[in-house]
């Protein structure tokens, strides 16, 4: 019965290494970029510039945490920037504005305004979750609709105006700092940490990976797949809303379309970091690396005085490269699987 005893398969270190391509490629990219910019620009590798980079990626980071949950479930959320924008504007709408700002707004005490903002983004997330899990609209299309709805809410609330005031707590968290460290970096770091702990150590985190890894097997094991996907979409909306409120304080104003770049930035950060677009692989660690790659690239290109118009193209090419690596890593994974049995 020689055929019956499957010998424990030996997997060569090389194959194993290639199986780790997803995690290694972004890290190598990050180190290479840092080395490149440090060598070509004396102003890049300084402590104050490190603080710059971190500050520049903080809002993206908060959005990207929620997006990581969604992408790990093999879904997508295209409404993150729009929800952020709507939430930021909603908070401003609920805050007393300067007389020069001509918005028929509804001033509330600061903490109530913040609660209102959180309730707003959760409501949008709940609509998305309902559409995806109950009605069965693919998340790609559902969140595209939510993107437009969020933009519509923004337009209606500010009517082409710009609001400047937000509750004082948000002002501190968004633009203040403790000692040398900006509060926004601390908030982003805490969000990443909590996201990581939830994904790694909790039952819910395990369910996220299972739903992304094999949705049908998860269902066969009694996991409420719809509840998990819905929760991921809610978390994404909550993170977006928080980023939106802090962003308004960070920018010092609330207006339409001010978050437009963050959709692509957040998705890029997750994908560049190596979290699989097919779900089940990756995590917050990957997202952190992705954020740093994007942040260093953005910041470094300025330090070497790259033509700012060329910069846009370069960012596009980097994203394309990351997508190639992402899909290629998935294929290597499949090969590693078949090599393993």
């Amino acid at each position: 019965m020689t055929a019956s005893i499957a010998a424990p398969t030996r997997i060569s270190p090389w194959v194993r290494l290639r199986g780790q391509l997803r995690n290694l490629a972004p890290l190598v990219t990050l180190v290479a970029l840092i080395a490149l910019f440090s060598a070509t620009s004396p102003s890049f590798a300084t402590l104050s510039n490190l603080s710059n980079v971190l500050q520049q990626v903080s809002i993206t980071a908060i959005i990207a945490v929620g997006l990581t949950f969604v992408i790990l479930c093999a879904e997508i959320d295209l409404s993150v920037a729009s929800v952020a924008n709507a939430t930021g504007i909603l908070v401003a709408f609920l805050t007393v504005q300067d007389a020069s700002v001509n918005i028929p707004n509804l001033p509330l005490p600061g903490w109530l305004a913040i609660m209102g903002g959180l309730a707003g983004c959760l409501a949008l997330g709940a609509v998305t979750a309902f559409g995806v899990t109950r009605i069965g609209i693919p998340s790609f299309i559902m969140t595209l609709a939510m993107l437009q709805i969020g933009n519509g809410i923004c337009a209606l609330l500010v009517r082409g105006q710009i609001a400047y005031s937000v509750p004082p707590v948000l002002l501190t968290l968004g633009s203040g700092s403790i000692g040398p460290v900006p509060w926004i970096v601390v908030v982003a770091g805490l969000t990443l940490l909590v996201g990581h702990l939830v994904l790694t150590y909790t039952r819910f985190g395990r369910y996220i990976y299972m739903v992304g890894g094999n949705r049908e097997a998860a269902e066969h094991s009694g996991v409420g797949v719809k509840a998990v996907v819905g929760a991921a979409l809610l978390i994404s909306a909550l993170c977006s809303g928080a980023a939106g409120m802090l962003g308004v304080a960070y920018f010092g104003s609330a207006q339409q379309n001010q978050f437009d770049n963050y959709l692509l930035d957040a998705i890029s950060a997750v994908v560049v970091g190596g979290t699989s677009l097919f779900g089940g692989q990756g995590g917050i660690g990957n997202t952190i690396v992705g954020l740093l790659v994007l942040g260093v690239l953005n910041n470094g290109l300025d330090h070497v005085r790259m033509d700012s118009f060329l910069k846009i193209l370069i960012r596009g090419l980097v994203l394309l490269l990351a997508l190639v690596v992402n899909v290629y890593a998935q294929r290597l994974r499949a090969k590693y699987r078949s090599a393993g049995g």
């Binding site: 019965m1 020689t2 055929a3 019956s4 005893i5 499957a6 010998a7 424990p8 398969t9 997997i11 150590y201 909790t202 039952r203 819910f204 395990r206 369910y207 990976y209 299972m210 890894g213 094999n214 049908e216 097997a217 998860a218 269902e219 066969h220 094991s221 009694g222 996991v223 409420g224 089940g280 692989q281 994974r333 590693y336 699987r337 078949s338 090599a339 393993g340 049995g341």
Partner: protein, 500 residues
């Protein structure tokens, strides 16, 4: 003797951990029908994939069309006139029969646009269909054809490319008796026209009826060959199994009790106008046989809440239960070991321990936080109890062989409190040694007082393992056979809907 159409010599193919083919040789002459038999997983389909150019053998020689090669490409196989009629027909439902026959080789009109000339296409296909005795024309939409008629379309496709070798893979698995007879007549006429036919089937009666020679594979090797005059049931069974069917059977420790899993007039969405009833008693293994598509898997999915039933009642230990999701079923101790473990059973990128604790994660966590040590203990316990061949429970499920993967899915339920377990094709793609272990585990469960329902298309398994067998035909239970009435013939008769 004239040079054979096809000569395979010493073909070997290994996959990690399994030798799928081990030095298999095969010869096929002009106008010869070769019956190819063997258990599931014996290597028949791998061998045919080598012949179709899909799988590249590790060693061996392929003599085809007067040339020797180490391997074939798909294009070479087609150019040499090798044609397949598959078990699961691959057709374009939205096109007519003629278009399906001539796919990629349509007649084109003269003129710069080179439009498809439908009339010419139909004129080419009509005589082929006539030759096969088809009762439909080339303009018949495939979506309206029965499975038997579709099969004729596939055979016509093979004829249209002047195939010299036609491979029929389980052609009758979904046919009625009279349709089978007609197909056998067509095989005979192909032979008389000089075509070489390889006929793969589980149904030994058909081999007796049509084959000139029989080749039997077992565990990737040629188990034996029978000449025309030696083709009879007993000899073939002996070659296929290499042991006595009844020897597989181990009797239950005690008489079955009351209660267990009972299904009354259950209606599934697959057969909305039929209902099925059956009763798996605690302490027994009830086999559920039937042809592919007879509604067995739908029934299992309905019982387990994956596709909730349209109507009917499910009783566990005599009490009616509402099952609207897998969660409900699991909460009541009713478990399913699904048909396709890679698709619906395992999360391949997770460890054995993580897969084992999947439905019971609440028991390994406190306030939502997973306790990795407790999880690993549970994984280790099942790894040891089920003798899963892996150094540690932290090994990823990806790296395990089919049999060991199946044990992981099983281990998941064994660590809970099962009252009834449904096994859907428990040993598909599982090697022979692990099969025996899985049978023993099923018997062990039954002896612990669990009601075991085993869905299987493997006749040896159904007859060899079950205490009783319920046979499904088109969505309803056509009959239930006790151990003493069990035979390949009695099960098949019910499965194909023949009147008793």
């Amino acid at each position: 003797m004239a040079a054979p159409l096809l000569e395979l010599d010493g073909i070997s193919k290994s996959y990690p951990g399994v030798k799928a083919l081990d030095g298999v040789s095969l010869r096929l002459g002009r106008g010869e029908v070769l019956g190819l038999i063997g258990e599931n997983g014996a290597g028949k389909s791998t061998l045919m994939r080598v012949l179709g150019g899909v799988v590249r053998p590790d060693a061996g020689r392929i003599g085809l069309g007067g040339r020797d090669r180490a391997h074939l490409t798909v294009a070479e196989a087609q150019a040499e006139g090798v044609a397949f009629v598959h078990q699961e027909l691959s057709m374009f439902d939205n096109l007519d029969a003629a278009a399906n026959v001539l796919i990629g080789r349509e007649s084109l009109q003269a003129g710069p646009l080179r439009l498809v000339d439908r009339r010419a296409c139909r004129a080419r296909v009509a005589p082929l269909l006539q030759r096969l005795g088809a009762d439909f024309g080339p303009d018949a939409p495939v979506s309206r054809l029965s499975i038997a008629q579709r099969q004729l379309v596939e055979i016509a496709r093979a004829l249209s490319v002047d195939a010299r070798i036609i491979i029929l893979d389980e052609p009758t698995s979904s046919l009625t008796l009279s349709e089978t007879d007609r197909l056998l007549a067509i095989v005979a006429s192909l032979r008389n026209a000089g075509t070489g036919v390889i006929y793969i089937t589980h149904r030994l009666g058909e081999v007796v009826a049509c084959a000139d020679r029989v080749l039997c594979l077992r565990d990737g090797q040629v188990a034996g060959e029978l000449p025309r005059e030696g083709i009879e049931h007993a000899a073939m069974t002996r070659l296929m199994i290499g042991r006595d069917l009844q020897a597989l059977y181990s009797p239950p420790a005690a008489a079955p009790g009351d209660g267990g899993l009972q299904v009354q007039e259950l209606v599934t969405s697959a057969f909305p106008d039929r209902s099925a009833s059956l009763h798996a008693r605690p302490g027994e293994i009830l086999g559920l046989a039937g042809l592919v598509g007879s509604g067995r898997t739908s029934l299992a999915r309905a019982m387990f809440g994956i596709e909730p039933a349209v109507g009917g009642t499910i009783l566990l230990d005599g009490k009616p239960v509402q099952i609207g999701s897998a969660r409900d079923a699991i909460a009541r101790g009713l478990y399913l070991v699904p048909e396709d473990r890679k698709l619906s059973g395992l999360v391949l990128d997770m460890s054995i321990a993580q897969n084992v604790t999947l439905p019971a994660l609440a028991g390994h966590s406190r306030m939502g936080l997973i306790n990795p040590a407790s999880e690993m203990r549970a994984g280790e316990a099942q790894r040891a109890a089920l003798r899963i061949k892996a150094p540690h429970a932290s090994v990823h499920a990806v790296t395990l062989s089919g049999g060991n993967q199946q044990k992981v899915v099983l281990g998941r339920w064994l660590s809970l409190k099962p009252r009834a377990i449904v096994f859907d094709e428990p040993t598909r793609g599982v090697d022979v040694g692990a099969k025996g272990e899985i049978y023993a585990l099923m018997r062990g469960l039954a002896d612990r007082g669990v009601a075991v329902l085993m869905i299987s298309s493997d006749m040896e398994e159904v007859i060899g393992v079950s205490d009783r067998v319920a046979v499904m035909h088109e969505g309803r239970v056509a009959g239930i056979l006790g151990r003493e009435d069990l035979s390949e013939a009695s099960v098949l008769r019910l499965a194909i809907g023949a009147q008793a």
